[in-house]
């Protein structure tokens, strides 16, 4: 069990997950006593196969999954009962779902307002992020008229409008081509570096975690099986690359 009392009240821990268990109505055990601590300011990767519990974990933090048992703290705020935790968290889900009645700029501005920003502040922030993500020329375009890559960028931008301190990106490069993947990596590095965000990234791609993440956790069957810096994991499990460590951890 993690020391929730000492860790949850500090700014040094962005996300603290304590004995999180989630069983869906169909009996699927998605999370099985998962424990995790993500230091503030880190770029943290969550690696695991399909069905390991990555999306359920992120959904539990963001409020998209009915309250599991266990506890979750975002910068010391209880993610289930304290609405302030929502203000601190930004989510870019795996599937791209954007409000089709709004333009790209309005998607961002309304998101900011849902999270308590004033209209002018939200619109200013929307313009800023459209520029960062090279979408200014598409500000008045509705999401269904954007390319797949643009929609993906808009989704990530949406997660950042309200200036969260923890950004959770659920497989942001799943199903995208190599060129766009590298483009998204550039955006993510930029945001992490310039805005001082804590980033939680889930991915299937080992090379993505190697390229971006300072800390990595391997997750399997709803539990974290190991975690550490990529070099530490390689050293601990043997092999030459993170991929070798990942495969060894998954087999153990």
């Amino acid at each position: 069990m993690l020391d929730t009392v000492s860790a949850s009240g500090t700014d040094r821990t962005a996300l603290l997950v304590d004995r999180l268990t989630k069983t869906y109505a169909d009996g699927t055990h998605a999370l099985d006593g998962l424990e995790l601590r993500i230091p503030a300011g880190s770029f943290f990767g969550l690696l695991g196969p399909n069905g390991a519990g990555k999306t359920t974990l992120i959904g539990s933090v963001a409020g998209l999954v009915r309250a599991p048992s266990g506890r979750i703290f975002v910068f010391g705020r209880d993610a289930v009962s304290d609405a302030r935790a929502r203000l601190l968290t930004g989510l870019a889900p795996q599937e791209v779902h954007l409000d089709r009645f709004l333009t790209a700029r309005d998607v961002l501005a309304y998101h900011g307002r849902y999270f308590g920003m004033r209209r002018r502040e939200a619109e200013g922030r929307a313009d800023e992020l459209l520029e960062v993500f090279d979408l200014t020329g598409k500000a008045r375009t509705k999401p269904n008229r954007l390319s797949g890559g643009m929609r993906r960028r808009l989704l990530i931008a949406r997660a950042l409008v309200h200036r969260p301190r923890l950004a959770m990106l659920d497989e942001p490069t799943a199903g995208v081509d190599l060129e766009l993947r590298h483009e998204l990596w550039r955006y993510l590095r930029l945001l992490h570096g310039e805005e001082g965000l804590t980033v939680l990234l889930t991915t299937h791609y080992i090379e993505e975690a190697e390229a971006l993440c300072e800390q990595v956790a391997f997750i399997r069957a709803g539990r974290v099986v190991d975690e550490g810096a990529p070099a530490e994991l390689v050293e601990r499990h043997g092999g030459e690359r993170l991929e070798d460590a990942y495969l060894a951890a998954m087999r153990s």
Partner: protein
Amino acid sequence: MTSVDVGLAQRRGTVALAGRETRRVLSLWTQTLLPAVLTALLFLAVFGGALGGRIGEIEGLSYVDFILPGLLVVTAATQAFANTSTSIFQAKSEGYIEDVLTSPLRSWQLAVAYMAGGLVRGLAASLMVALLAVPFAGGLERPAVAIVSLVLTGLLFSALGVITGIWAESFDQHSFVAGVVIAPLALLGGVFYSARTLDEPWSTLTRLDPLYYLVDATRAGFTGFHESPTPVSLIVALGVALAAFAAATLLFARGWRLKP
């Protein structure tokens, strides 16, 4: 955002979502307002104009004067219901409801914001029908009663729409409620007839329909004629609307059919 008071953030978010819903109604006016107005006008033309002369007076009122308040209530009810149920169903089935579900809004604030769009659509459509009917109908005896009654109609059916939007998992389910629940409520609500002239069981069935009280109170507001005491009608309608709002809030709070 950490320095923002969470209560203030929630209030702003509620206003923003209500604004988004209202904007949707107004930007899609050819789909959200025009058909309802045309339907109500056809009812007025056929029953009030073409057949009204043959039907004569009901309870001392011309048939147009008798049915107009009921048509306004039905218009407000069906449009408020259609707006919230469709908007939530679309947001849910297309997945973008996650944007508001991850926001700091409380469950009752989500319900209120969605209901605001339904209320605006219901009242806007009713107002348009009322304005177009002015040349054919009588005056407004007690405007405040009529307005309160129409607002209660909008609130009640907006809340029912929220419940339906959350419940429906397919477009067929969504249509089922509109056809099997809302349409009978409208037809049995005493829009086209006086409940006290009916035989049993129709008279009792009519009085079990919450829409009957809203129609009766609105009719009292427009014409002065009513079958039930107007305060009782308004209290019944308020009670049902509050119950529906509470149910809608509860569904959001539990995440029923919204969250796995």
